[in-house]
Symmetry: C2
Subunit: 196 residues, 2 copies
């Protein structure tokens, strides 16, 4: 460890795993096809487990109506020493930095959708209204995450209603079974279930 | 804007404002002095408003018993095009990257406290249990934030109890009046109240 007197770092940097940096992501996804987008998010979550580069979670930001893929990410908590580097936060932040805009409601590709291989934890749920996405689409459920040993945090029970009230559409259980399977495989692989 | 076909960025980078990078932060704070730590967080929030570099929020991570300051941050949402770059997320992430450890419960300076000039929004509240801090200390309240026009999100009513159940101590309303004053000044300055 560096000496504590060392000046604090002036920036946070969180990088995607090498394999994802080299991954040949499509720029164009099938139009109006939630299942195709979710299948890519699940595939990335699976590759993250296989490469042992982080938790079993993948997420994308895209325009579903036109199919433009804006960002694709996985959980980077352990590898990048950053507890907030969940797949959803990574995908939203990458999309915002790529668009040069903290508000994803105001890009030339808006409205944008967040696709996530698992329902968001309390932190990611809280991040969604601040991000400017118009819709979230989830794969595995909170129950699936919990049965694999993950903790979703103190999420309000009426979380879908709270997003809808803010004009954010919510779709759940898209490709739930294959998404949940990745969580189970991770739990069985003995990799870290990282909740302090 | 760059062409959409441009390959996605491989990492997120969020930098503190130049003035904070140049700021002469103490490495040692007064021991067991929440008010002194909070005063620094409030001072940083005020400087962020004065420099027009972001929202009126400051946060620190430190060991209160021994006074070691680990990180100090402000809200960087607009300047860094990142809606999750709230002061608390910045301070936690900077501390984690400096310690080389995503879990702040397991550093040589633990237990660590998050000092925040305003009670956390739903996102930051959700991030706290994942970070490994043992305590949070807040200045301005949710009511203060809301009366200045800010939105704290769908935070559970029993948020303090939920943190306590996880073994995280919560102290509120430390230097509340000066912390709330910065929020009011920001609102009156006509700078962005950024909720999409």
């Amino acid at each position: 460890m560096r000496d504590i007197m060392y000046k604090q770092t002036d920036s946070i940097r969180v990088s995607l795993p090498d394999w994802l940096q080299r991954y040949d992501l499509p720029t164009q996804m099938p139009v109006n096809d939630m299942e195709a987008a979710m299948s890519l998010a699940i595939h990335l979550s699976e590759l993250n487990v296989r490469h042992r580069t982080g938790g079993p979670f993948g997420a994308l930001v895209l325009n579903l109506n036109h199919g433009q893929l804006i960002s694709a990410a996985v959980n980077c908590v352990e590898a990048q020493c950053c507890s907030s580097a969940h797949a959803e936060i990574m995908a939203l932040s990458l999309a915002q930095q790529r668009m040069g805009q903290w508000n994803l409601a105001e890009t030339q590709y808006s409205p944008l959708t967040l696709i996530t291989s698992c329902e968001p934890c309390a932190m990611c749920l809280g991040a969604i209204p601040w991000s400017g996405v118009s819709q979230i689409v989830c794969g595995a459920t909170k129950a699936d995450a919990e049965s694999a040993g993950f903790d979703e945090g103190a999420r309000p029970n009426a979380w879908k209603e709270a997003l809808l009230e803010r004009g954010i559409d919510v779709v759940t259980e898209v490709c739930r079974a294959p998404a949940a399977k990745v969580l189970q495989e991770y739990a069985e692989s003995g990799q870290t279930i990282y909740n302090p």
